[in-house]
């Protein structure tokens, strides 16, 4: 009787151990996947790059024709920057796709965009050598992950090897948006104010002045909305960087409940900031 009970107990313990082992092996890393998926979505948003590239052309609305050759020159310079700026988005997107795939124990995909990254590096599209090196490092890892058919057991390795160069690329993106795009928006706002104030000083017809005031308010609102999008996108990019840093620091314990909760907080903050951008 006693032997029978001991046998049952042993079977129960063995079963419990097997269940625990299985759950450890198949921890679903929901928060890592959530963070990666939201970062992927956020990196697809490249509207701010488009607006920045087109600012000199839009400024022609406000400035006298004597300034147009200078604005045309700036427009072509920015057009030349466009690809590099968009490639940063592509890199983050591809990286987050691989991170999400590995967290789900899937295979990272080798697609055209990954090819495009390699070509851009060969063409030396980067003005900054430090960023070019970081870009090459992340890009190379992504190719290795896809061609060597990495799975979840390589997740820790991906995070570990990519964190430093990834931070360089995301940091460059955040700085560009925070300084460059904010400064760009401030210039457009000043141009708008100069243009409409001059017209309003020159105007005499009350109906014309009323129409001008309406247009001025309309254009001003557009710029206010754009400014809000810039501010929120800075939060998005900084949260992607901070969240990845957290992944790096906790890379060997990603299935722990408290680590999952921490990563989920980054994913939630990211969603909130990105929803604010999309909602504008």
């Amino acid at each position: 009787m006693r032997r029978h009970r001991t046998g049952q107990l042993l079977r129960l313990i063995t079963a419990a151990c097997l269940i625990l082992l299985a759950s450890a092996c198949t921890a679903n890393l929901t928060s890592v996947r959530d963070f990666a998926n939201t970062s992927f979505d956020a990196a697809q948003y490249s509207q701010l790059v488009v607006v920045y590239v087109e600012t000199p052309t839009r400024l022609k609305r406000y400035e006298p024709s004597s300034q147009w050759p200078e604005l045309d020159r700036q427009a072509s310079q920015r057009q030349a920057q466009r690809q590099q700026l968009l490639l940063r988005h592509t890199l983050v997107k591809e990286y987050m796709s691989a991170l999400g795939q590995l967290a789900a124990d899937g295979l990272p995909i080798y697609d055209n965009e990954l090819d495009e990254l390699g070509k851009a590096l060969e063409d030396a599209k980067f003005a900054d050598e430090g960023e070019a090196t970081a870009f090459a490092a992340v890009s190379k890892l992504l190719v290795t992950a896809a061609t060597d058919r990495w799975r979840r057991d390589k997740l820790e390795s991906l995070i570990e090897q990519s964190n430093a160069p990834f931070q360089v690329v995301v940091g460059a993106m955040a700085k560009t948006v925070e300084q460059g795009f904010t400064g760009d928006a401030a210039i457009e706002r000043i141009a708008l104010d100069k243009y409409y104030t001059t017209l309003q000083q020159e105007g005499k017809d009350p109906a014309g002045l009323a129409a001008l005031a309406e247009w001025r308010a309309f254009r001003t609102n557009e710029l206010v909305t754009h400014d809000q999008a810039i501010r929120n996108y800075v939060v998005v990019l900084k949260t992607i960087g901070q969240g990845h840093q957290k992944l790096y620091e906790t890379r060997d314990q990603l299935s722990k409940a408290e680590v999952e909760a921490d990563i989920q907080r980054y994913a939630n903050r990211l969603k909130e900031a990105f929803n604010a951008v999309k909602g504008l």
């Binding site: 700036q74 430090g130 940091g171 300084q179 400064g183 000043i190």
Partner: protein
């Protein structure tokens, strides 16, 4: 002068756009007493300064390095003294002198000509302080 970093270019862009705003404030505040020609001259200088600020933003976006450089402080000092002069002066001729010197400085910075930068920074500072 060493090459501009992104932080330098951002700071200078802000200095020149603030100067453009200060000139615009002067033009609007003295609108009825200014001749059409003076208004037009001032407005041209405002747009030139604003477009130089925009050009510096293009450089900010093209650079990601962070090291701070000495020397830029002198340039910011020159534009700050120009801005202060424009805000306190009433004489349009003096304001135009300060504005013209500032446009020259902005152009020299954008063209990365060290000799012209030093010469124009001095010209801005001299114009701003002589006017005070």
């Amino acid at each position: 002068m060493p090459p501009l970093t992104s932080d330098d270019a951002f700071a200078l862009s802000k200095s020149f756009r603030d100067l453009s705003v200060a000139l615009g404030d002067f033009r609007f505040a003295h609108w009825n007493t200014l001749s059409e020609s003076d208004r037009s001259t001032l407005e041209d200088e405002e747009w030139s300064l604003l477009n130089s600020a925009s050009d510096m933003i293009t450089k900010v976006v093209g650079l990601t390095l962070d090291e701070s450089q000495a020397g830029v402080a002198r340039l910011k000092g020159a534009t700050a003294s120009a801005q202060k002069a424009v805000k306190t002066l009433n004489d349009v001729r003096k304001v135009i002198t300060v504005a013209t010197a500032s446009v020259g400085l902005a152009a020299a910075i954008v063209s990365k000509d060290p000799g012209a930068i030093a010469k124009n920074a001095k010209a801005v500072f001299d114009a701003a302080t002589a006017s005070a």
